[in-house]
């Protein structure tokens, strides 16, 4: 990684620990700033083919059969300037019985007129496992539109977990759209944590199709909104085969003039399938609040702690 690349990571506000990860020779990484590929590294068993094309960046990632990566693959997608568009297309293939974790740092610290689009196609073969963490920071201005879209197919006995976190700074406009299809005996868990302020606009649509027998699915959303922010969370789970179990769990806390909506959609077409949902929207739970105040916290301190805990 060059000095210039480091300088760019600094400008994005990436902390020192994570910057060190991008220097580690044993850790695979990819850094894309704006429309340019700044740095990449692979490790044995992992192919990363990234190229700039058509006003965006196309990335193909393939993990060979049976390869299990001990350390996560780190990616960094960001925009240094206050205005720029970034378009990323990613195709990921985890071959049979392979496993890897991916950590994506998505950083837009000065965003005033920024658009970030991510379109991912993910194939997880039989017995393979993929963990994906996406951590966002959009700066204090709210001038960003982020559109993460993913289509995931999980093979028999495979596993996919994703964890999207955007809890510091403004959100801007966020439109998450995930579709996951789970085969026999596979497991999928989608977790989203977002804290909206100002006029932030949060729209989340996540859909799990439990297509194969005994597949398991969980959609978990933890959203807090304050000021004039809006959040609309749609969690869709379809139980289409024998023995499948699905659950949609949405919790949203609102303050001030913020508005939150939860739309759980569950559909079952097999008599031996079971899909459940729970949604809770409202201000902070009174009993929690009083419990903390009985320990000497002011109402403001107590609310902050409850919201922070929910988003952890």
């Amino acid at each position: 990684m060059t000095n210039k690349s480091h300088e760019l990571l600094n400008m994005l506000g990436l902390d020192k620990n994570n910057q060190a990860v991008f220097q580690d020779q044993k850790t695979a990484h990819l850094v894309v700033i704006g429309q340019r590929i700044i740095s990449s590294r692979t490790v044995p068993g992992l192919e990363v083919d990234a190229k700039e094309q058509g006003g965006g960046v196309l990335v193909r990632i393939r993990l060979s059969e049976g390869v299990c990566l001990a350390t996560p693959v780190h990616t960094c997608f960001g925009v240094v300037h206050n205005q720029e568009d970034q378009l990323i297309k990613i195709e990921v293939c985890l071959e049979r019985n392979s496993s890897a974790r991916f950590i994506a740092h998505c950083l837009f610290p000065k965003a005033e007129h920024v658009r970030h689009s991510m379109d991912a196609q993910i194939m997880i073969a039989e017995g393979a496992s993929m963990g994906y963490q996406e951590r966002h920071y959009h700066g204090p201005y709210g001038g960003i539109k982020v559109i993460p879209k993913a289509t995931v197919k999980i093979g028999q006995g495979g596993r996919y977990t994703s964890d999207f976190t955007l809890t510091d700074g403004r959100v801007g406009s966020l439109e998450i759209d995930y579709d996951v299809e789970a085969s026999d005996d596979s497991v999928v868990e989608l977790t989203t944590r977002v804290f909206g302020h100002g006029s932030d606009d949060i729209r989340i649509r996540e859909r799990i199709v439990l297509a194969g027998k005994n597949a398991r699915g969980l959609i978990k959303s933890r959203i807090a909104v304050e000021d004039d922010a809006l959040a609309e969370v749609t969690g869709i789970t379809e139980g289409n085969a024998a023995g499948v179990r699905g659950h949609v769990d949405c919790m949203e806390i609102i303050r001030d003039r913020a508005v939150a909506k939860a739309i759980p959609i569950i559909s079952v077409i097999h008599p031996q399938a079971k899909v459940t949902h729970e949604a809770a929207i409202g201000s902070v739970d009174k009993h929690q609040l009083e419990t903390l105040m009985a320990h000497g916290l002011t109402p403001e301190e107590a609310v902050d702690l409850i919201v922070k805990g929910m988003l952890e």
């Binding site: 933890r222 919790m251 739970d285 009174k286 009993h287 929690q288 009083e290 419990t291 903390l292 105040m293 009985a294 320990h295 000497g296 916290l297 002011t298 109402p299 107590a302 702690l305 409850i306 922070k308 805990g309 929910m310 988003l311 952890e312």
Partner: protein, 238 residues
């Protein structure tokens, strides 16, 4: 010297009188058991002392160390040294046991207080206070949190409910610890063997305290569940 004085408290909810003419004192460092059948207003009284929302008396005074609490907020009362362990403690996502036990100005590390309530610190410090803890585990942690803030007055609302019989000794140990640190305790319980650990006891019936005295005598009269003065009926003095 009286630490807490409740004077002629009257409280109604949804048009129903719950407490009327209630007077009670708790001395500094005293463990005071409060007995009463279900629905007599024991938990209501605990909430009134703590200042929970919706639990403000219509009349009467709540004095703590001679300071009138009636218009004080809950956290202000907590900062004076009052702490309440609820009968059904709240669950929190994302809040770990060690964080919960250090919310107040804890004088000792949280491990100490977990051991005092019969929990192994290494198994619990990093756990979340969420729904995956059993009711009994959560109650023990609630008691540990009260110990951790070293209150001047601890209100324990049925600390024994939801905890297995064998751990009565653990609760007695908690009371002994509070006594050793000079804390006064208002102990709400139905169990004679736990009430017996108190210095004094009062019986709540018909919205008021009908007797105060030796815990064994009060427990004995409570066991009959009969009240010769009001037969459990709230006689509204208003």
């Amino acid at each position: 010297m009286n630490l807490l004085e409740l004077s002629d408290i009257r409280f109604t909810a949804s048009g129903r009188t719950i407490l009327t003419g209630l007077t009670l004192t708790i001395k500094a460092g005293e463990i005071h058991a409060l007995l009463g059948t279900n629905g007599t207003g024991k938990s209501t009284l605990a909430n009134i002392i703590m200042g929970c929302e919706g639990y403000y008396p219509e009349s009467g005074g709540i004095y703590f160390d001679a300071i009138l609490l009636n218009s004080m907020k809950m956290y202000e009362r907590a900062r004076l040294g009052i702490c309440l362990a609820w009968q059904e403690p709240a669950r929190f996502e994302g809040l770990r046991v060690h964080e919960y036990l250090t919310l107040g100005a804890a004088t000792e590390p949280p491990e100490v207080f977990l051991r005092l309530v019969g929990l192994n610190p290494s198994a619990y410090l990093d756990r979340m206070l969420d729904r995956f803890l059993s009711g009994g585990e959560r109650k023990r942690i609630e008691l540990a949190s009260v110990l951790a803030v070293r209150p001047r007055l601890a209100i324990l609302d049925e600390p024994d409910s939801g905890i297995d019989m064998l751990s009565t000794d653990d609760i007695i140990q908690v009371l002994d610890h509070l006594r050793s640190t000079g804390s006064a305790v208002l102990l709400i319980t139905h169990r004679e063997e736990i009430a017996a650990a108190a210095d004094r006891a009062s019986r709540l019936c018909g919205g008021r305290i009908i007797a105060t005295g030796n815990p064994r005598q009060i427990s004995s009269s409570f066991k009959t569940r009969k009240c010769i003065s009001c037969d459990g009926m709230v006689r509204d003095d208003k």
